[in-house]
C-alpha cells in the first residue's frame, strides 16, 4: 500500500505528469472557453458534445485529405460553427427552448460525425508538430513544458487571455455581458441582442469544433467514432465550476486534466482497482465538483448570467 502511494506520488512529481495533464486539459479548456462566451451572452448551448465530435470528424477528414494540420483545424472550427448556426437558427430565430435544442444538436452531431468519419476509421495522420526552439526546448524540466507543446496548447492560452481582455477590457465585451445579464434592458438601449448572441454562439461553436479537432490531430493521430467521450459535457460543467470567469476556467480545466492523468496512471500500476472505476472517475469528479460549487454559492447568489437560457423575442 505504502509502496503504491510512493509510486503515485512519484508519478505526480514528474515532468511526464505535467505534460499529460496539459494534453488532457487542452480540449476541455478550448471547448469551455467558447461556451463561456456564449453563456455570458445569455445562451445555454448544451450541444457542446455534438459540436466537438463534429469538429473531430471533420477536422480529421480535412487533415487526412489535405495532409495539413492547419487545414484540419480550420475544418474542425467550421464544422463546430456550422452546428452552432443550426442551434442559433432555432433558439434565436425561432425562440425554441435552448435545453431541448442543445440535446438535439448532440444527437445529430453524434450521428453525423459517425457518417462522415466512417470512411476514415483506421487511417492515421502525422500528429500536429510540437514547438522546437533550439536551446530552450532542451532545458531541463521546464524546457518541454514551456517550449515543446503543439500549437493547440499555446492557442488555448492565447484564447482565454483574449476572452478575458475582451469581456473585461473592451466596450463590446461590456455590451455582451449586459445582453447576458438583462436582455430586455440591452434591447431597450438599442443593442442588437439577437445579433450579439448569434456571434457569441458561433464563436462558441468554433471553439468546440477546434477542441474536437485537437483530439484526432494532436491527442491520438486517428479518428474513433464517439472519441470525445463526454468531454463536451465536462466542458459545460467547467463553465459552471468557473462561475463564468475565464481565470477560474483555466484552473478547472487543469484540475480535470489531472484527474484524467490519475485515471491513466493508476490503471498502469496494476493495484487491482477495476479499470471501470477509474474510467468513471472524471464523471464522478464532475458531479462532486458541481455539488460543491453550487453548495458554497447557494442558489440566491448565483454567478450565472441572469438571462442565461431565457428565450428572447424582441417586441415591436
Amino acid at each position: 500500500m505504502l509502496n503504491a502511494l510512493g509510486q503515485i506520488l512519484g508519478l505526480i512529481f514528474s515532468v511526464n505528469f505535467i505534460l499529460t495533464v496539459i494534453t488532457a486539459s487542452t480540449p476541455l479548456l478550448l471547448a469551455a472557453s467558447g461556451e463561456l462566451v456564449a453563456e455570458r451572452s445569455g445562451v445555454l448551448n448544451l450541444g457542446v458534445e455534438g459540436m466537438m465530435i463534429m469538429g473531430a470528424a471533420c477536422g480529421f477528414a480535412g487533415a487526412y485529405l489535405s495532409e495539413s494540420t492547419i487545414i484540419g483545424a480550420i475544418c474542425g472550427i467550421l464544422a463546430g460553427a456550422a452546428m452552432a448556426a443550426i442551434f442559433a437558427f432555432l433558439t434565436l430565430g425561432l425562440a425554441v427552448n435552448q435545453v431541448a435544442t442543445g440535446l438535439a444538436l448532440t444527437i445529430l452531431g453524434t450521428g453525423l460525425s459517425g457518417l462522415i468519419g466512417a470512411g476514415f476509421v483506421g487511417q492515421r495522420i502525422v500528429p500536429a508538430a510540437q514547438l522546437h526552439l533550439p536551446g530552450l526546448t532542451e532545458l531541463p524540466v521546464v524546457g518541454r513544458i514551456l517550449f515543446g507543446q503543439d500549437a493547440f496548447v499555446y492557442l488555448s492560452f492565447a484564447l482565454i487571455v483574449g476572452i478575458w481582455l475582451f469581456l473585461y477590457r473592451t466596450r463590446s465585451g461590456l455590451v455582451l455581458r449586459a445582453v447576458g445579464d438583462n436582455h430586455a434592458s440591452a434591447h431597450a438601449l438599442g443593442y442588437p441582442v439577437l445579433k450579439i448572441r448569434l456571434l457569441a454562439v458561433l464563436f462558441g461553436g468554433g471553439c468546440a469544433g477546434l477542441a474536437g479537432a485537437f483530439l484526432p490531430l494532436a491527442y491520438t493521430p486517428f479518428f474513433i467514432p464517439g472519441m470525445t467521450a463526454g468531454r463536451g459535457w465536462i466542458a459545460l460543467a467547467l463553465v459552471v465550476f468557473a462561475s463564468w470567469r475565464p481565470g477560474r476556467l483555466v484552473a478547472g480545466a487543469y484540475l480535470f486534466g489531472a484527474v484524467t492523468f490519475l485515471q491513466l496512471s493508476v490503471q498502469g500500476l496494476g493495484l487491482g482497482i477495476p479499470p471501470q472505476l477509474m474510467s468513471s472517475l472524471p464523471y464522478l469528479a464532475t458531479i462532486v465538483v458541481l455539488v460543491l460549487i453550487s453548495r458554497t454559492r447557494g442558489t440566491a447568489g448565483s454567478a450565472a448570467p441572469a438571462s442565461l437560457g431565457v428565450v428572447f423575442v424582441p417586441d415591436r
Partner: protein, 363 residues
C-alpha cells in the same frame, strides 16, 4: 423585407395537432436529400427504411419490441419536461434498472426459486432506476447543482458499473469468456406473447404505464401540480405548491420507469445481462417525448415511429450498405423539426417591409 418572429394572440390549435406530422414530413424530405447525397436512390431508400418493415410480420413484431422501452421511458420523461425539470440521464437509469433486476436473476440462477423471481426483479429494477434518478434530483434540490449535467454524468458511471459487473463478478463461467451473465432461468424471463416473434409481456406493462400516466396527468392533483409548475412557476409558488417535491417526484417516477424498461429489456428479448443492452433508448426517448407532444397517447405513437427508424436503419444497413449512424442523424433532424414546428404554435413568422418598420419606429 425582413422575416421576424411574432407572438400569436393565442396558441394555434391547428398547428398544435399538425406540428408532429409536418415535422415528420420535413424529416422524410431531408432524409431523401441525404440519401441522394450518399449516392442512393431516395425513393428506394425511403421504401426500405419506412415501408418494408411495416409489411413483414417479423419486423412489425420487432418494432413493438423496440417501442416498448422507448414508450415507457418517454412517458416518464414527459412528466419531467412538463414540469420544466430536465432529466436527460434516462439511459443511465435504464442500465441501473437492468443491473438491479439482474442481480436477483444472477443469484437465483440454477436454484429452484419459484415464480416470485420475475415480479421481484421488475420491482428491483424500478426501485434501482428511481433511486439512481434521485441522485441528481437531490443534488439539485439540496445543493442547487444543475440536474442536466449531473444526470448525464451518471449515464457514463452506470455504463462503467455495469461493464465491471458483466466482465467481473457476474460473468458466466461457462460463457467462453464473453462478457455476459449466464442465461436467465425461465422463472426470471418474461414470456413471449406471440409464437415466432420476440414480442413479450413487457409490452402489456408499457401499455398499462401509458394509461396510468395519462390518469395521473389528467385526473390527479399531482398531475395538475406538474402542469402548473411547468406553465406558470410563479403562480404555482403563490398557491403553495412545493417545486422541490415535484423535482424529486418527477425524477423518481421517470427513473423508475426507465429502470423498469431496463429490466424488462433484459428479462424479455435479451435474456441475460451484457454490456450493450441499449442502442441509446434513454436518449431516443427524449425525442419520443417531444414528438409525442408530452402527451401519453402521443408518446405511444411517437415511440412506434422511432422504433420504425431503428428497424428501418438496420434494414437499410443490410440492404443498401448505408451506415447505421444514419438512424441517429434522422432522429436528431426529427427533433429539430419537431421543436421548430412547436415554436410555430406560439409564434408566427411574418414578413415586414423596411418602410413599415420605419413608420412603426416613428410612431
Amino acid at each position: 423585407m425582413r422575416l421576424v418572429l411574432e407572438r400569436r394572440a393565442e396558441r394555434s390549435a391547428v398547428i398544435a395537432i399538425a406540428s408532429p406530422l409536418i415535422a415528420i414530413a420535413l424529416t422524410l424530405v431531408t432524409v431523401a436529400v441525404l440519401f441522394a447525397l450518399l449516392g442512393k436512390n431516395p425513393i428506394e431508400a425511403l421504401d426500405v427504411y419506412f415501408l418494408e418493415p411495416l409489411l413483414d410480420p417479423y419486423s412489425l413484431g420487432e418494432i413493438v419490441v423496440k417501442a416498448t422501452p422507448l414508450v415507457m421511458i418517454g412517458v416518464g420523461l414527459s412528466l419531467c419536461y412538463i414540469a420544466n425539470v430536465w432529466n436527460i440521464g434516462a439511459e443511465g437509469q435504464f442500465l441501473i434498472g437492468a443491473v438491479c433486476g439482474s442481480w436477483l436473476a444472477v443469484h437465483t440462477n440454477g436454484t429452484d426459486a419459484g415464480p416470485w423471481v420475475l415480479p421481484a426483479m421488475l420491482i428491483l429494477g424500478a426501485l434501482g432506476g428511481a433511486l439512481y434518478a434521485l441522485i441528481p434530483a437531490i443534488c439539485k434540490v439540496r445543493f442547487g447543482a444543475s440536474e442536466i449535467l449531473t444526470s448525464l454524468m451518471l449515464v457514463y458511471v452506470a455504463y462503467y458499473g455495469m461493464d465491471y459487473l458483466v466482465r467481473g463478478p457476474w460473468r458466466d463461467p461457462k460463457g467462453l469468456n464473453f462478457p455476459t451473465t449466464a442465461p436467465f432461468d425461465p422463472v426470471a424471463t418474461l414470456p413471449p406473447l406471440i409464437d415466432g416473434s420476440r414480442v413479450h409481456a413487457g409490452t402489456l406493462i408499457a401499455l398499462f404505464v401509458v394509461m396510468l400516466i395519462a390518469v395521473v396527468l389528467g385526473r390527479t392533483i399531482m398531475g395538475f401540480e406538474i402542469k402548473l409548475v411547468g406553465a406558470a412557476p410563479k403562480a404555482a409558488r403563490f398557491s403553495g405548491f412545493n417545486a422541490d417535491r415535484l423535482v424529486l417526484f418527477t425524477f423518481a417516477v421517470s427513473g423508475a420507469l426507465a429502470g423498469l424498461a431496463g429490466i424488462i429489456e433484459v428479462a424479455g428479448p435479451i435474456g441475460y445481462l451484457q454490456p450493450d443492452i441499449s442502442p441509446g433508448y434513454g436518449f431516443t426517448a427524449i425525442i419520443v417525448a417531444f414528438l409525442g407532444r408530452l402527451n401519453p397517447i402521443g408518446i405511444l405513437i411517437a415511440g412506434l415511429f422511432l422504433a420504425l427508424t431503428f428497424i428501418g436503419g438496420e434494414n437499410a444497413e443490410i440492404a443498401m450498405k448505408v451506415p447505421l449512424d444514419l438512424t441517429k442523424v434522422f432522429q436528431g433532424i426529427l427533433l429539430f423539426y419537431v421543436l421548430a414546428c412547436d415554436s410555430m404554435i406560439v409564434y408566427r413568422l411574418r414578413f415586414i417591409s423596411a418602410s413599415r418598420k420605419a413608420s412603426a419606429a416613428n410612431a
